[in-house]
Structures are given as C-alpha cells and as structure tokens.
C-alpha cells in the first residue's frame, strides 16, 4: 500500500512537468509578433517598440529558454528583483480582469470551492440513491420514472435549465437571487468585524457566528447547486444502476439471500459497497470538474467562481490568464487523480496488489 502511494506521488512532478510543457508548447505555434500582440493591450506605434517588447519578453529565444523563463522568471540586473516565474506564484497579469492572474485565482477559487462543497452531496448522493432505487426496482415503475427524470435532466442544456430556474425562482417568485451574496451581507463580510479565516464564505460565516450570512450565501447557491445536481444525476444514476445490477446478479448476493439475510442488508451492506467502485471514479472526476469551475452555471447565475473568470479570459483572448487557469486546472486534476487512486487502493484490494 505504501509503495503504491509513493509510486503515485513520484509521478506527480512528472505529470506536472508534462502539463506545463504541453500548455506552454501550444503557444509556440504563434509567431513572436503574434504572441506579443496577445500580451499587450494595444500594439505600440513604432516597430522598434514591438521589437523591444519581443526582446523584453524573450519571444525570440529558443523554446527551452522561454519555457525556463516562464517557469522561474528573470532577475532584473539593476534592481535584483525577480520578474515572473510560475513556480514563484507569478502567473502574469490578466488583461481581461486587469489584475494579476494569481490574485484572480486566489479571489475566485474559494467561491468555486464553496460551491463544490455544497454541491457535492446532493449531486452525488441523490444520484447514487436514484441509481440504487432504479436497480432494486429493475424495470419497475420507480426504475422507469427515475430514468425518465434523469434523462430529461441530462437532455437539458445547462444554460437553458439554469435560465429556466432563474425565470421561475428569481424573476417570478423572487426566492433565490443570482450572485454571491445580498448587498447588505456583502457589507457585513467586508467590514473589519468579519474575519476571513478560510476565505470560503459559508465556513467563515459559521466561524464568525453569522448564521444570517451563512443562510444568504446558501440561498444564492441553491439554484446553481440544483442545476449542477440535476444535470449530473443522470450520469450517476446510469453508472450506479448498471453497477448495482451487475453486482446484484453475482453469486455471493444470491448466497446472502439464500442464507436468509434481510433484503435490505443484502442490498445496502453487501451489494452496494462493491457496486460503488465505478461511482467513486465518476465522483472523483465530477469533483475535479466542479473545482475547475463550472463555466455555464457560474455565468448564468453570475456566481464569481473560477469558471466564469476562465470563460471571460478565453473570450477576451487573454492568453496569460488562460495559461494560468489551465495550469491551475491541471494541478487540481493531478492532485484529485492521486486522491482517487489512493482511495481506490483503500476500497479495492486488487488495485494495491496489482
């Protein structure tokens, strides 16, 4: 087990190196002048200044030199200060957001994390529950109803479902608002009295004893969570149902039944845990997807997460920010993959033995 985990951990730097090379390499398809155009707001008036910029950013250097500069930055000979360097947390300046990319990620990611924390449970648990019910009532009414319910969900484009929710629950019923927080509570969290322990709003609200802020934050996240859940339930249902059906047909389940165990125990104690392996993989990737930002949901509900910031960077051709987001997502993916692999090893002995 330890060897397995160490082996996986050793792979992380290799994967990170691969991700950075891949992401940076894609930029090299553009000429130095085109790359300069991506980094500056407007082209300078004289050609010499363009050349100056190319030299300053080192766009005329060989790939490996540019890559190394991107990784570790450059030290200014006169001031001794280091410019750039992603390993030092300097991802550059985002033109679309008019702020450093690291700051942008730092500000947006806690919101995405907050949404993920609250979306995971309904998204996964209800999806699994629907799948189990469908499998247990195979081809029965509940099975058919659950499948229709989820297929409708998965057939809805996210933005259509999201806008529909907004129309019903916000524009007409005035129950749930878009955004992150109501204005009155925004002023609360920006006051000196409110301490930002974790920067994750709901957790900080509870730690500050501000249940009103906590409820308001949840109220703003309700529709995004509902949208994310509904469009994902079908996948969880399908995977869980298939895996459960397969497990329920296994010999050991029949043996358990033959031994007179109650059906409840057969399903939930003996069949379900073994049926959860593919669901675990799916859950891992779903969480990574949420952490990487859910572009459409965040955009429709005006939720200031990392996904909407990345979408904005992409539509503005803000390459510096896009590189930062891609790198950040790559990092999350690698770490989440590692966690899922380790969990797998815990759940399934075959994995660690292999």
């Amino acid at each position: 087990m330890t060897t397995y985990i160490i082996r996986r951990l050793l792979l992380v730097p290799v994967l990170l190196f691969g991700v950075t090379v891949l992401i940076f390499g894609m930029l090299q398809f553009l000429s130095p002048v085109e790359r300069t155009a991506l980094y500056v707001r407007d082209f300078p008036k004289n050609e010499k200044a363009i050349e100056g910029l190319i030299k300053r950013y080192g766009f005329d250097q060989p790939f490996y030199v540019q890559y190394w500069t991107w990784l570790v930055g450059k030290v200014d000979k006169t001031t001794g200060e280091r410019e750039g360097g992603i390993v030092y947390g300097n991802f550059g300046y985002s033109r679309s957001a008019s702020q450093p990319v690291a700051e942008l990620i730092q500000r947006r990611f806690p919101n995405t994390l907050d949404l993920t924390i609250w979306a995971v449970a309904p998204m996964i648990l209800i999806g699994i529950w629907l799948g189990v019910q469908a499998a247990v009532h195979h081809n029965g009414f509940i099975d058919q109803a659950a499948r229709v319910f989820s297929i409708v969900g998965t057939s809805f484009p996210t933005f259509v479902f999201g806008l529909l929710m907004l129309l019903i629950f916000y524009a007409n019923l005035h129950w749930f608002s878009p955004g992150r927080l109501s204005d009155e509570f925004n002023r609360v969290i920006e006051s000196d009295a409110f301490r930002h322990y974790t920067t994750v709003l709901t957790i900080d609200a509870l730690l500050n004893g501000r249940f009103d802020v906590f409820l308001d934050a949840l109220r703003h996240m309700f529709l995004p969570i509902l949208t994310l859940s509904y469009i994902n339930w079908a996948t969880f249902l399908r995977v869980t149902r298939g895996s459960m059906l397969e497990t329920l047909r296994m010999e050991y389940v029949n043996t358990a039944r033959a031994m007179g165990l109650p059906e409840r125990d057969v399903i939930f104690k003996h069949a379900q845990p073994n049926a959860m392996l593919p669901v675990l993989t799916l859950a891992g990737f779903s969480i990574v997807g949420l952490l990487g930002g859910v572009v459409i949901t965040e955009t429709v509900f005006n939720f200031p997460g990392i996904g909407s910031a990345a979408a904005r960077a992409a539509t503005s051709l803000d390459v510096v920010a896009m590189l930062g987001f891609a790198l950040f997502n790559g990092f999350i993916l690698i770490v989440a993959n590692l966690v899922v692999d380790v969990l797998y090893a815990f759940v399934d002995p075959r994995v660690r033995l292999s």
């Binding site: 085109e34 300078p44 004289n46 200044a49 008019s98 529950w129 129950w175 749930f176 949840l218 955009t299």
Partner: protein
Amino acid sequence: MRKMFALLSLLVIASMALSACGGTAPTAAPSTGDTTTEATEAPSTDTGTDAPAAAEFKSADPTTMVVANAEVATDTFDPALAYDTASAEIIQNTYETLVFYDGEATDKFVPMLAESWELSADGMTYTFKIRSGVKFHEGQDLTASDVAYSFQRGLLQGGTSSPQWLLAEPFFGVGVDDVSVVVDPEGTLYDDRELLSAFDSAAVVAACEKVKSAIVADDAAGTVTMTLAQPWGPFLPTIAQSWGAIMSQSWVVENGGWDGSCDTWQNFYGMASADNPFSGIINGTGPFTLEKFANGEEIILARNESYWAEPAKLERVILKQVPEWGTRFAMMQAGDADLAVVPAANRSQMDELVGIYQVFDLAANTYGPEQEVCGYDDSALAAAKFTACAAGETGNNGQFRLRIGRPALQMDVLLTNWNIATSEESPNPYIGSGALDGNGIPADFFSDVHIRKAFAYCFDFETLLNDVFSGEAVQSYQLPLAGMPGYFPDTAHYSYDPAQCEAEFKLADLDKDGIAAGDDPEGDVWTTGFRVQMGYNQGNATRQTIAEILAGSLASVNELFLVETLGLPWPAYLRAQRAKQLPLMTGGWLEDIHDPHNWYQPYTTGTYGGRQSLPDDVKAQFRDILERGVSETDPAARAEIYKEANTLYYDLAVGIPLNVTTSHGFSQRWVQGVVLNPIFPGNYFYTMYKD
C-alpha cells in the same frame, strides 16, 4: 436509505425556508414622474420636470442604484492613462475636471473645479481660477499646484495607448501626439521607456521643462495658467473628459507616482495599467468615492458626504458585472437592477415590457416628451414599434422606460487603401495576382478617384440601415457629427446608385493609357474585372455584413467584380492594417471630444489616413485645413473651414461615411434625473435618483 430520503426532504424544506428570506419585487406606489437635468452654474442635482405623473412603480431600495453591466473590466483608474469607457465612467463619477459638460449639451461647458477661466486675446493662454474649499476623498485640500501637476504628469506619462495625444497636440503643436516626439522629433522613442531613458539626457530634461513652463500654478492667487502651442478651438472639450481629471499630488507621490522632478519623469513614461499604482485606487474630488473594487465582479461607489457642492441623492451605486444577458434580464424583471446593458439582438424582449418611452427629436436635439405605450408592433422598426396612448387612454403599465433614437457619437467609415503595400519578397495576400487581370488588383487600384467613387455609389446604405441595424441607425453624410462645427445636414453625399457606379467604373483609367475604361478597346477594369479581399476582424458581424453588402452590390453591377470577405483574428487584422496591406477595410471611431478635429485628424492625417496610404499632397491639403480649423476659436468661422474639409473629403471620396447608430436604452421606470449626454462614457450618477 431512509436517512438519505430524510436528508433529501430536509433539503427541500430548507430551500423553502431559505426562500422566505428572498428579495422583494417592485412595488406599486405613486411617483413624481420623470425629470431632465437643467444646466446650472456648477453641477447640481436640481432637476426640472417635464413629464406626466403616470408611473406607478417604486424601487425596493431608493438609496442604491444597481447597474447590470455586460462583461467589461475596467483597465485603469489612472485618469492620465484610462482610455476605455468602463474606466472613464468610474473616473467621471469620482474624479473631476476643471470644466464639465452643461447637461446634455456636448458643446457647452460649466465650471467644475475651475470657478472661472479667461482666454488671452491671442487665444493661446488659458487662466483658470481654481475653486477653493474643495477636498479630495482622503482629506487633502485641492490646490492650484495639484491641477498643474495633474496635467504635467499626464503629458509626461504619455504613451500611445493613453489618451494623452489629445492634450499633446494643443500643448506641443498640431501633429505632435506624444511627449516622446518632443524629446526626439524623429519619433523613434514612442512607447519605449528604456530607449527614452537612454536618450540624450539634456533633451529628456528639456521636454519636461517645456511641459512645466506651459502649465504653471500660482497657489497664492489660486490660478493655473496654460500656454498652448497655438490657439486651440476645442481646448475646453479636451480638458472636460476623464484625462483632464485632477489628482492630489501628495497622494500620487505617496503611492509611488511621479515626484514632480524633471530628473525622474522618464521612469514613468509610457506606463501600462499593469504597472500603474493608480489602476485600482481612487482619490478624487468627485461626488462618489470608490467603496469596493472587485474587477470583473462589481464596483461599488459610495456618496462623498464631504462633496464641495450638494451631495448626490443616491447613497450608493453598485455596478455589477453580469455577463449573461438572461441573468441581466431576470434582474431587470425582478427589479433588482435599475439599469442594464441590453444587446441589440435582445432588445425585443425588453421592448415588449416598455410602459413609457421617449423619442429623440433630431430637430430640437433633445428627447421628446414621455409617452405611455398603448400598442406594440414587433414587425415595425425602431420607435415605430410603439403606439403612444391617445388622450384619456390608459397605457399598458409596462415595467420599463425606453429612450430611443439619439444618434451615437461613433461612426463606421468604409476605407480604401490608395497605395497597398506589397513587394516581391512579401507579396500581399489580399490583392490576388496584384495585377489588373481579373484575378487581383494592382497596388494603386484605389488611387483612381473614379474607382473610389464607384465603390461609394455601389454601397447599399438602405440595406445596411434597415437589415443590419433594424432601422436604428442613420446614414452619415460627412465626418462631423450633428451639433459640431462643420456639420451640415444637406451636405453632398453618396447614395446607392448602380447606374452611377457603373458610369464611374467606366470613367476609370487603371491601365493609364489615357482612355477611360468604358471606351478602352484594349480593355480596362470594366472588361477585365477584379478580385480583391475585404478583411474584417472575426466576430464583428457588422463589419462582416458591410463587406458582404459591398460584395453583393458590385457583383450585381458587373459579374467580373469580385470582393471576397475575409475574417481575420484581431491581431492579424490590426497588423495588416498597420502594415498598410488591407485594400479595403471598415474603420470605426468613437469620438473622444465632440469636435470635427477629433474626426478629421484620425481619418486624414492621423491613424486611418496612414492606413489608407493617403498621398502626401492629399494629407497636406487636409493638414492645412485642420491647422486652420483647430486654431480658430470662433465656431462660425470654424464651421466654414471644416466645410472645406467636407467638400474635399467628398470630392476625393477619401472614405465613405456609412452609419451612425441611434440610442435604444432601457431603465426601470423609477430611475430619474438621468443626464443623457452621449459624450459621457457611461452614467453620470450625481444627478440620478429613484422615485
């Protein structure tokens, strides 16, 4: 699994409980009706009334104005550098200028931070008496030195991405558009701080001293004297915009800005927003302070309680970034947004919910009276969609207010390149074979005036106005816009006329054999035809359609005339323009100041004139007119000078002015006190309130 079901039930119950904390919908209540702002000696929140008291809507929070903007980030709050409307809107509400626009007028000014001003007899020296008792948001007193420093700092910071070229010309002379040109008249130092710093130090210091001697403060007298390089007709409009905003010198220095020394200014030259310490902070004298700045999310302005004039009526202004239109629409419907950016494609959704509307009266140059909506016809165009209620009739009680029909201060112009850049080493990909053989065009194709006129007569303006802009645009006859010297509503202009188009093509002589194409037995453009590419920046549907309209019209006149439309990524489009490679292009211009110089300069001697490769003799003709025009301070005399420019531009068919779009702006019915000055970069919240 029962626990799971219980959990689910709990979630649903919780959601219902949370919903009880929900916001409130707009409520019906009596209102005082709409207002318009009256011009005053200094800016004031006083408003006149000109509307019936018919609205019955009231905001849940009358102290806060919420604006749902589309996805636009501000670039910088440094007034010397900001050149985008999103930044300028914030600057205009937090900083202040010496003079300001008089209500909706684009050509009349009232005192702001200057109590008064005088112009010398030779028209070259302005003396501003600075208002006393004015404090910056952080408590510093406004002094004459702050004013002088702000202008000096802006000019010396310069850079071609900044608006400083607008101030450079009056202070340094016509055509000198950056302080780096004062240092090196050869223009080798543009935007390059390192080169400028390494340049002859005497020239570097001399440039700074020249700036300082042109703008002199007298703190004892409370005056600032500005000496221009020549009389400058549009000087007041130039300093009334955001780049003329006044900063506190001590605050700028404290925050790492220029210390005012001529030995250090070069370290701040050409500063980009990313390196600028004032990109995210504000300390102005304006009616609002910057309470919160979360770029790309929201900006909150709070009322400046120590404002030198009457404080604003609104306590707070929240500018939310809401990229998705559907969300903005829902916010407007719910009454949570008071104003919202509505894309042209989505206007009909809002139009259906309009209860009150005002149509711009071109003759009176102001919006007409408010009218209740009693009928709506989606198939009609622009204001004709709405039917006003007759006397005694009750309106549809629609939720929104619409103001429609005011021409914007921007224009699209179809431009031809008179000497297209191409060479054997680097053949131009946009001109086909590069010869008059039916498969391309020669580099000097558009140097023939008949070709340019033929293209002008072949452009179908009606299709552009009605099909592309749904009737919400007017044809431009000239570069100057309505309300500025040089605008003549009946001036000569081109109209769509295929017969005249054909006649002009037949008059052309591209093979230069002295025989017009229509009579040339050896063949010319009429018999050989041509193939040329018209580029546009990808995603710009208007420019794409302009190219397609032109292509269609030309092909209908002669099937041998082939214009291919070509979408280019923005950097490639810009680069090809600057390299003078594009034979045909659409130039768009949003004016900086409401003055003909701001139109003729870029379109003849400046940016676009360069991209069109206009010959030196043509540029010289325009330069002469522009120098006379900009140096003249009498509006009537200026109008006559720019009339010459209009005639020359038309006769030579230098460019084809296409269209000016017209306004179509929505708000909640309770939004009052709006000053609809089209030169403003955004909303001016000082006069606004909710009732």
